[in-house]
């Protein structure tokens, strides 16, 4: 690690963003135990650019932050000097309902955005659980967060149509535009999706919208076994149903496979009937009330280690079996949730020691990387992440990934060490 | 009269772009309506008619010029074309280079190279008009074109590729110096096939050859393999010789006389498939036609014009027009697809001939393919049942060149009990293509085998098609694959039905 000049004072930052918008950092601002020196919140793209240029000149390591809901994602930072908060850049720049497109500043809270869009009967088709905790649009893009509705609407990568970024040397660049169909130039919007702030700061995003569904109903199946769960998910996938979400909940006390059916009332009615009929061979089927559906969330804290497994969707049974097997052998009772139609499963581990968790993750990673999937540690104590690297191997992509990083952030000041491949 | 390029009435059936006809033919709607629409946009009946594989990837026939072709001469002519009927710039300019013709072109399907696609060939013609010489390479790619005209059907811009390739071939024949053995072989073909009497004499020994199974002996002894490829090809194509039936000069109608029609006997047709001619005359008579078959008629010149032998063609054409001069017929009926398409173009092909232009126009206006004619006339004779599954093969010169697809099928479907099966990749030529299967045996064999496989996959018990060339080609491929399937012309099937003959009549043959 090269020595960097850290003769930076708070006043230097305040000169750029204003007195009220730069402060010294506190322990709450730490990322995986690494505490930065300062937190600064630029109010515009220009301020962001200036701030980054300054930081680059001074060699400061920067971590962009939106709602701070995903700061635990990735490996602990190699170093961290400044947290760049997008909290002040929270406007809707343009919303034209007739075009089903919205342009926002990256710091806008997803929740606020959805409320605003609901006024025109529209929505952004992304529903990560962190929405309630203040996740921002830019953060969702940077972390590639997603929720149950990705089954129908795709991830943020499928919804973003334009982006404005600020690179570590202060360059401001945009790509895409405000029209859904656009192949002019490279699709940098996609490149930045999931980049976790390592390529630059996302300043503005443009998204395509969908109409808000009028009605909704949740059909739930209690699968008799992991086989039944997997088979039921397959049946749903290959039927001509169009559910908004297909979710799995598998815990000690509760096992459910739920289908969220949304649309116009006659459609919801008919599809719910079809779904119920289809699922009845796999276990008990019932319709959930709104309250029941709402309480069924993903695990909400309390776990010590959170893991995400990506596998081919048809292997749901295999995933469940491998998880349950690995956990039971080490005396861990996992809480499993997942997007059953996509192949993404979330594992919340608690009640045992770090070594057990580490072994579980390693075992699962061994199995599922070979089958074309991946196992990522989403949240864990820093020490754990030293033991088990958060992302897993990049394989043949490593070299190329490094080259991309080098081009966009030659000095390596954006979130160093947090990303896959040791970037 | 060539009516292909007039905008036909969309409600009229038999329209080459008539998709209602297409899905009527297919009972399993494969793919999306969009896929069907797409297939229909290139004139195919259904997505299943567009080829799915290329043999190019399997490495069987991957041709580029200069690989093992013995017929190169180093001939170099610049400019490529002279002023006598070069391929017309206007027609070339119609091509917008969209590429929709590529998937239906048999040579593109085989080789996967741009130069062996209609788009590429037109491009070469364009270059030849002003910039490039005519040399081995150019001629090679033009020679490889089968002239099947699937591209004409497919082209959304209406490029008249048929006119372009014929003009080009004429130029090639006049200006390009072929290798001596190539020249000799072609000359031999053209001294033989357009002359029925010579053909009869030359193939007389064939009956003995076949009777005594000499071919089999030669094959077993390994001698056959050592013959030059083209000889081998010809040997493989030879049909089983049957007793020849003559068509009388004039045949009376059965019952009331509805029409007086002329009948064209053809060359290969009358020598090798004389029973088709006999059946045709019987059917026409049964449908109330007085049939006039002038004895003096010779070849229609189709093979010649398709090979670019312009002068030879014109001689044949004039003689044929003369033969029908005073016959006073309402229509002129032809049962061979390859001949029919040329006959309908007589007016265009003889447009420069001051003496014959008008007569050619009158002649061409009367020409009808026999299935076309029967449907137009409207059936009157009773059809007796023929319960059999038959695969109908669209001859290129009937389907693509004349746009006659629905009529032969209708003719068959009017026979009670007939189960007409559709062949997959129907748009792709069987490889016969005039003399193509003799001068370019390798690609022709690939295409023939491909067609034969598709035919076998229909599960039909016999093949029905309107062209003698196709019959020879598909049968040769089937034989090579160790199969055999009886074949018949649609009019032969109709004849058997009208005469109340049992199905075995059709099956116990060839």
């Amino acid at each position: 690690m090269d020595t960097r000049t850290k003769n930076v004072s708070l006043e230097d930052l305040q000169k750029i963003v204003g007195e009220d918008h730069a402060r010294e950092a506190t322990p709450e601002d730490a990322i995986d135990g690494v505490q930065p020196s300062f937190v600064a919140a630029p109010g515009s793209v220009e301020e962001t650019s200036e701030l980054l240029k300054f930081a680059a000149d001074e060699g400061l390591a920067i971590s962009p932050r939106g709602g701070g809901t995903k700061v635990s994602l990735g490996n602990p930072p190699r170093e961290l000097d400044l947290v760049l908060s997008t909290a002040r850049m929270d406007d809707v720049i343009e919303h034209v309902p007739g075009d089903q497109v919205v342009r926002v500043q990256a710091g806008i809270k997803l929740q606020d955005l959805q409320e605003r869009l609901a006024g025109s009967d529209q929505m952004l088709g992304i529903d990560p659980p962190e929405t309630q905790s203040g996740a921002t649009a830019g953060g969702v893009v940077a972390a590639n967060s997603s929720g149950p509705r990705r089954h129908r609407y795709g991830t943020i990568r499928d919804l973003i149509i334009g982006i404005t970024v600020v690179l570590s040397d202060g360059t401001v660049a945009k790509a895409g535009g405000k029209v859904v169909k656009n192949v002019a130039g490279y699709d940098l919007s996609k490149l930045f999706t999931g980049s976790l702030g390592t390529l630059g700061v996302i300043a503005e995003c443009n998204f395509r919208l969908h109409p808000r569904p009028e009605a909704a109903r949740t059909v739930a199946l209690e699968p008799e076994s992991t086989q039944a769960a997997g088979a039921a998910a397959q049946a749903v996938l290959h039927a001509q149903l169009v559910p908004s979400a297909v979710e799995l909940h598998w815990g000690e006390d509760e096992r459910l496979l739920t289908l969220l059916i949304e649309g116009i009332p006659p459609g919801v009615e008919a599809q719910s009937d079809t779904a119920s009929y289809l699922l009845r061979g796999f276990g008990e089927v019932r319709t959930l009330t709104d309250e029941e559906a709402d309480t069924l969330g993903p695990s909400d804290g309390g776990e010590e280690v959170a893991v995400k497994i990506s596998a081919p969707p048809a292997e749901l049974t295999g995933v469940l079996d491998s998880v349950l097997g690995a956990c039971s052998r080490r005396g861990v009772a996992p809480r499993v949730t997942g997007h059953a139609g996509i192949g993404v499963t979330y594992l919340a581990l608690s009640g045992a020691d770090q070594e057990a968790y580490a072994q579980i993750v390693e075992e699962l990673r061994e199995i599922w990387s070979r089958r074309g999937g991946s196992v990522v540690v989403r949240e864990a104590p820093p020490a754990f992440k030293e033991r088990v690297e958060a992302w897993g191997p990049l394989g043949s992509r490593l070299e190329l990934t490094r080259r991309v990083k080098e081009k966009f952030d030659p000095r390596g000041i954006m979130n160093p060490g947090r990303f896959a491949g040791g970037i | 009269m060539d009516r292909r390029n007039d905008p036909p009435d969309p409600r009229e059936t038999g329209n080459p772009y008539d998709t209602t006809d297409a899905t009527e033919r297919r009972d399993d709607p494969s793919g999306h309506a969009q896929d069907q629409g797409m297939a229909g946009a290139v004139g195919a009946g259904s997505p299943q008619d567009i080829p799915r594989e290329t043999l190019g990837t399997r490495g069987s026939v991957r041709q580029t010029v200069g690989i093992g072709r013995s017929t190169e001469t180093g001939s170099y002519v610049f400019p490529a074309f002279d002023n006598h009927h070069p391929p017309e710039k206007d027609l070339i300019d119609d091509c917008v280079h969209c590429g929709f013709c590529l998937p239906t072109c048999p040579t593109y399907v085989l080789f996967g190279e741009e130069m062996d696609s209609p788009r590429g060939r037109i491009y070469l013609m364009n270059k030849g008009l002003d910039e490039e010489p005519m040399d081995d390479t150019m001629v090679r790619h033009w020679d490889l074109c089968l002239g099947c005209m699937a591209c004409v059907t497919a082209c959304p811009s209406g490029v008249q590729y048929d006119k372009l390739i014929e003009a080009t071939r004429g130029q090639v024949e006049r200006r390009y110096e072929r290798a001596p053995e190539d020249k000799a072989f072609r000359e031999m073909i053209f001294q033989l096939f357009p002359y029925p009497n010579r053909l009869r004499v030359a193939t007389a020994p064939l009956r003995l050859y076949q009777r005594f199974g000499i071919g089999g002996m030669l094959r077993k002894a390994g001698v056959m393999d050592r013959l030059p490829k083209r000889m081998k090809a010809m040997e493989a194509l030879m049909p089983m010789m049957t007793r020849q039936q003559e068509v009388p000069d004039i045949t009376a109608p059965v019952g009331e006389k509805r029409r007086r029609v002329g009948f064209i006997k053809g060359c290969v047709q009358r020598v090798f498939f004389s029973e088709v001619n006999a059946a045709t005359v019987r059917v026409l008579s049964a449908e109330g036609c007085e049939v006039v078959a002038p004895k003096s008629q010779g070849c229609c010149g189709a093979l010649s014009v398709h090979a670019g032998r312009e002068e030879e063609f014109q001689r044949f054409a004039r003689k044929l027009i003369d033969a029908f001069e005073d016959t006073e017929v309402d229509e002129i009926v032809i049962n061979a697809a390859g001949c029919g398409s040329t006959l309908k173009e007589y007016d265009y092909l003889l447009r420069d001939d001051t003496e014959y232009a008008e007569r050619a126009r009158a002649f061409a206006a009367k020409v009808k393919d026999v299935s076309e004619f029967i449907q137009e006339l409207g059936p009157v004779a009773e059809r007796h049942p023929l319960p059999i599954a038959a695969a109908y093969h669209d001859a290129c010169h009937l389907a693509h060149a004349q746009g006659v697809r629905q009529q032969p099928r209708a003719t068959l479907k009017q026979i009670p009990g007939m189960d007409v099966r559709e062949i997959k990749e129907a748009e792709i030529c069987c490889g016969s293509a005039g003399i193509y299967n003799m001068v370019e045996p390798e690609p022709a064999t690939e295409l023939g085998d491909r067609k034969a496989r598709n035919v076998l996959n229909t599960g039909a018990r016999m093949i029905v098609t309107s062209n003698p060339g196709c019959m020879l080609q598909i049968q040769a491929s089937l034989r090579r694959m160790g199969h055999s399937m009886p074949m018949a012309h649609p009019v032969e099937v109709l004849d058997a039905s009208i005469r109340g003959e049992p199905v075995e009549t059709l099956l116990d043959r060839r």
Partner: protein
């Protein structure tokens, strides 16, 4: 490397049948679907395996020879235009469908596989491949990937980039990477696949592509509505979208287009000012309901005639008419210049009026066919090349149309790509910084600038690395490039 040396090197990799070197044959590859630009390639090679592609690219990398990949050559922006003194790598012989995986709703194909074959392959299982460009019968998946092709169904279903799950790519240095999960979602690392799709062949050559296939919808209803002019038709479109309906496809054609298409493929369209083809698909109950609504909306907007497709055949006929639109232009005009501009849908009416005004001003005919749902227009400027000066006028008019679209917040291209043709307009849509940052990506993939160089960006920037010991980059030699 001398030409002969190159030819023999290629022949040793591919065998003699895989190398085309004769002049006339090379000429037939000098352009793709866009005839306005022609460059004769030095050599054309036709690989059949990914390893061969690697070896070819490796040779090019070591010798500093630029290369261009080509599929079926139907692109409309000159993306497959060869590079001077470069090799053209034609992928049309890599046409195998490698794996069909219905349980995981995916299929793995080689890049030369034709778009429509994918749908055909899985049709019997009740699936199809959603991106359906009008050229689907001949365009290849590799080409679709390079251009991020759309099609009439992309409003609802998205584009190629939403349906590609993974790709094996040969990078310009000859190494091979697997980008995108291919089997499982959310692979860790950067979204390289998303950046690769739509990169117009400038970042590498895909040799295996994993595609997502989609279950056929339960119900499909299609209608054709005739309107007095595009304005009224546009009103209907707004009404439909405003009602919260997401049609599977919603296409508009104006009078000139209708005329051309009628002459070409005779779908029997009503000869009116504008027609709208609307297709809804999805669960039956939903479709029925929304279809009724759509009919009402069309009527409210004064549709003079509404035809509902009664069966597959009629629906196929509607689509045939629409998909043959471009090529059908050849029937009413000698030449045409097709544009591919996008504007926000709410600006459509204004832009169409502007285009028609421009047409009048220039005295040239402009036909319009477009994807009304997403604002992607295809104005076809009709002209006659034989009349001196018309071609230039047409280009100028096309340029004005592009500027109009940009002024209204649109984009240079919705599906055809920038390629060679629209490079010059890039600075109108993007700032220098924007373009420089995009080129950073290119430098990461292709530091020596040999992979389809000269496309997309008007001024190529070298990446500060010397491309080979003794050879100045031809682009640099031509004084066209600057160093980063």
């Amino acid at each position: 490397m001398e030409r002969d040396g190159l030819i023999s090197a290629m022949k040793s990799i591919l065998g003699p049948e895989g190398v085309i070197s004769e002049r006339e044959q090379l000429r037939s590859y000098e352009c793709d679907g866009l005839m306005n630009y022609r460059v004769i390639p030095e050599l054309v090679v036709l690989p059949e395996t990914a390893e061969q592609v690697q070896m070819i690219v490796r040779t090019c990398y070591e010798e500093g020879i630029p290369f261009v990949a080509r599929g079926s050559g139907t692109g409309l922006s000159g993306g497959a235009l060869p590079v001077e003194a470069g090799i053209l790598i034609v992928m049309s012989r890599m046409r195998k469908i490698l794996e069909v995986d219905i349980p995981n709703q995916r299929i793995v194909v080689e890049p030369g596989v034709i778009n429509m074959w994918v749908s055909e392959e899985v049709a019997n299982d009740g699936y199809y491949y959603a991106p359906d460009p009008a050229s689907q019968i001949v365009s290849s998946i590799g080409g679709n990937l390079a251009e991020n092709s759309g099609g009439v169904h992309c409003l609802k279903y998205g584009f190629t980039t939403n349906h590609v799950m993974g790709a094996e790519v040969v990078l310009p240095d000859g190494s091979m990477v697997n980008i995108g999960g291919g089997k499982a979602p959310d692979a860790p690392g950067y979204e390289l696949l998303g950046a690769f799709v739509g990169s117009e062949g400038t970042l590498g050559i895909a040799t295996k592509i994993t595609l997502r296939i989609v279950r056929k919808p339960e119900a499909v209803r299609t209608l054709l509505a005739a309107f007095k002019d595009t304005e009224e038709a546009g009103g209907a479109v707004s009404g439909i979208i405003g009602a919260g309906i997401v049609p599977a496809a919603i296409e508009m054609m104006d009078a000139l287009c209708i005329e051309a298409v009628e002459t070409a493929v005779h779908p029997g369209f009503p000869q009116v000012g504008a027609i709208l083809i609307v297709e809804l698909d999805g669960p039956a109950a939903e479709v029925e309901n929304q279809f009724e609504q759509t009919l009402e909306i069309c009527e409210e907007n004064n549709a003079s005639e509404i035809r509902v497709a009664e069966d597959d055949a009629e629906r196929a006929l509607f689509w045939k008419g629409r998909k043959a639109a471009f090529a059908a232009m050849g029937r009413i005009s000698n030449d045409y210049y097709v544009q591919d501009s996008v504007v926000p849908r709410t600006e459509l009416g204004k832009v169409l009026k502007k285009i028609s005004d421009l047409g009048e001003e220039y005295g040239m005919r402009v036909a319009n066919v477009f994807h009304a749902g997403d604002g992607n227009l295809h104005p076809l400027v009709l002209y006659d090349n034989n009349v001196p000066g018309e071609a230039e006028k047409a280009e100028k008019l096309a340029g004005d149309i592009v500027f109009t679209c940009l002024e209204h917040g649109g984009s240079l291209t919705g599906e055809h790509g920038i390629g060679e043709d629209k490079k010059k307009y890039m600075p109108k849509m993007f700032t220098t910084d924007d373009l420089n940052v995009m080129q950073l990506l290119r430098c990461a993939f292709d530091p020596h600038q040999i992979c389809n160089p000269g496309k997309i960006f008007p001024t190529p920037r070298l990446c500060g690395e010397r491309p080979g010991p003794f050879r100045m980059h031809p682009v640099q030699k031509a004084g066209l490039a600057e160093n980063f």
